[in-house]
């Protein structure tokens, strides 16, 4: 530990540095996204839910249910892999709310809010950085799936397009969790409420099984569940015969989510005290 007194060095502090023009909304958002990426690098454990979790899900579901549900593990793998990819990415979007809530508790957001930057930049930055987590999740799912014998009929371009659709959906959905993250009292509460929403969204869907054998009331929900639409769309694209209806409904779902929750979230952020 150095024992230098500050008499001499502080002179540079007092040297006036004039304030430049504030950064553009895009620049501020990207800078704050960069911060979140740095945090992922610093604490790689936070990627567990998008790395180990999907591996376990894929192995477990394929070998546990494959024979019983689809007759063979290979056949089930073709069916379930796009579903698990969607489920993993959708579940990963929950993390947005938890990390926002933690950030706000620590007071770093107060500093951001005292700066002359576009106010939603901190939110948009965090959401953009979360896209990296989604990409990791998609890559892990596909790598494990391919190693086990998953063969998408549509080829590389189709797989990339399907993943992009999933990313757009997760980005849209994460506004809900961002909203919860800003309005709930603690990170634990955010997690609890989000999980409550997550289970009917991901499990009560066509991710794991064909809904044709389900009771009517459940099937009715599964059919309108936006996650089901997305899974149908992703399966179609990856298999090489895209389902325009499902793709369309997925995008409509995204638009509705953003239209409703982005303004609510930004409003909650402005009012946050």
């Amino acid at each position: 530990m150095s024992t230098t007194t500050l008499d001499q060095p502080v002179r540079t502090v007092a040297t006036r540095v004039e304030r430049p023009n504030p950064p553009s909304p895009l620049s501020a958002s990207l800078t704050l996204g960069w911060r979140s990426v740095l945090k992922i690098r610093r604490i790689p454990e936070q990627l567990f839910d998008v790395t180990f979790q999907p591996v376990i899900f894929i192995l477990m579901f394929v070998y546990l249910f494959g024979g019983a549900v689809a007759g063979s593990t290979q056949e089930y793998l073709q069916f379930v892999l796009p579903g698990i990819l969607v489920q993993t990415v959708v579940m990963a979007s929950l993390y947005t709310g938890i990390s926002l809530n933690t950030d706000i508790g620590k007071g770093i957001f107060d500093r951001f809010r005292s700066l002359p930057i576009w106010r939603p930049a901190a939110l948009v930055g965090a959401l953009l950085a979360d896209s990296i987590r989604y990409v990791v999740a998609a890559v892990v799912c596909l790598a494990v799936g391919m190693a086990m014998g998953f063969r998408p009929g549509g080829g590389v371009a189709a797989v990339v397009a399907a993943c992009l659709l999933v990313l757009v959906f997760a980005f849209s959905l994460s506004w809900i969790f961002a909203f919860l993250g800003l309005t709930m009292r603690s990170a634990g509460a955010v997690q609890g409420v989000s999980m409550l929403a997550m289970f009917p969204l991901t499990f009560a869907s066509n991710v794991f099984v064909d809904p044709s054998t389900m009771p009517g009331w459940l099937k009715a929900w599964v059919d309108v569940n936006p996650v089901s639409q997305l899974v149908t769309a992703v399966r179609g694209i990856m298999a090489g015969n895209p389902d325009a209806g499902a793709i369309g409904w997925s995008l409509v779902g995204c638009a509705v989510l953003v239209a409703v929750f982005a303004p609510l979230t930004v409003r909650a952020y402005r009012r946050k005290s």
Binding site: S2, T4, T5, L6, D7, P9, V10, R11, T12, V13, A14, T15, R16, V17, E18, R19, P20, N21, P22, P23, S27, A28, T31, L32, W34, R35, L38, K39, R42, I43, K106, G107, I108, D110, R111, F112, R113, S114, L115, P116, I117, R271, S273
Partner: protein, 321 residues
């Protein structure tokens, strides 16, 4: 008369039943240090959060450099810096990363940001810790990086919310040096503190705040003068002689001595300091041994006690807001 950098009129903020800030008026002249002094929960932080646009006042108005903190919040944010309990840096990032982040967010270019971060780390004696995550910093280093983050560009008005709470004396002195230097460079500083000597040391003017209102305002000397008299401070060699000593003080100085938390220390208001010589003679005559004796202007602690009727650290019944 220099222009006002900060002016607040009747600021109010309520949280449910609790009127955390209940009609605060402030007037801070440009280029000065203004101390807001009060115990935990007095409303200091809430006031700062309103002045820095983080919290919307429920009543009253405030202007920073002539810009309204509600209607013209974006303009206010261009000129202020904030460091405090609630405005800190990212613990997971390193010192350099935090300062580069901050520099980018005020609009410096990538290369300017790197240069400024390095310069500030050097100035604040943090170069060794530049690549360590902030959570591993000591308390003093932590406070310095917080402060550095507010100074990536020179703020016209700097708000420091309890900048030295919990710091060791050396780190405290460093923060004080930085504040003095900034003011010399033309920055206006508003700082909140629970430490009476800190306000005494740094502030040109002081507002004493208690339960959401300003109960006294003036220079340090004015506040002390408002209490009026000098005070006797007497430390006994043997605390068993306390009762006898108190009686002698009361008789000789014609006053009522205060009991202090320290058994061997007696303090008493003194109308005529000359009488203290008589007191010393009588103490000698009665065989009362003295460790230390002095006549002082009242400390800000005593000012606070006189103004509020309770001691500065007596905040057990109030919640921290």
């Amino acid at each position: 008369m220099t222009p006002l950098a900060i002016e607040a009129h009747g600021l109010v903020k309520t949280f449910g039943e609790n009127r955390a800030v209940d009609g605060v008026d402030l007037a801070v002249r440009a280029g000065t240090v203004y101390g807001v002094l009060g115990p935990n929960g007095a409303g200091k932080t809430t006031t700062v959060r309103m002045l820095t646009t983080l919290l919307r006042p429920d009543g009253g108005s405030a202007r920073v450099l002539g810009h309204d903190v509600v209607d013209d919040a974006d303009e206010v944010r261009k000129f202020i810096g904030l460091t405090g309990q609630y405005a800190s840096v990212d613990e997971d990032l390193t010192g350099t990363e935090n300062l580069v982040l901050q520099s980018r967010l005020v609009g410096l270019s990538r290369s300017q940001s790197k240069a400024r971060a390095a310069e500030l780390l050097e100035s604040f004696d943090l170069t060794e810790a530049a690549s360590r995550p902030v959570k591993h910093f000591s308390g003093g280093m932590r406070r310095r990086i917080d402060l550095a983050a507010s100074l990536v560009v020179t703020p016209d008005v700097l708000f420091l919310d309890e900048p030295t709470t919990g710091l060791d004396p050396r780190s405290r002195g460093q923060v004080w040096d930085i504040v003095r230097d900034l003011v010399a460079g033309g920055t206006t500083v508003l700082l909140t503190t629970q430490y009476l000597d800190e306000a005494d040391q740094l502030a040109d003017r002081i507002a004493v705040i208690d339960r959401g209102t300003v109960i006294a305002e003036g220079t340090s000397a004015e506040l002390k003068a408002s209490v009026g008299r000098s005070s006797l401070h007497l430390r006994l060699a043997d605390e068993a002689q306390r009762d006898l000593a108190e009686r002698l003080v009361a008789q000789t100085l014609d006053t009522i001595p205060h009991r202090t938390p320290e058994a061997a220390v007696i303090t008493a208001p003194v109308a005529d300091p000359d009488l203290v010589a008589d007191l010393m003679i009588r103490l000698r005559a009665e065989g009362v041994g003295i460790d230390e004796i002095g006549v002082q202007r009242p400390s800000l602690d005593e000012v606070f006690l006189t103004l509020t009727g309770h001691a500065a650290d007596d905040d057990t019944e109030r919640s921290a807001a």
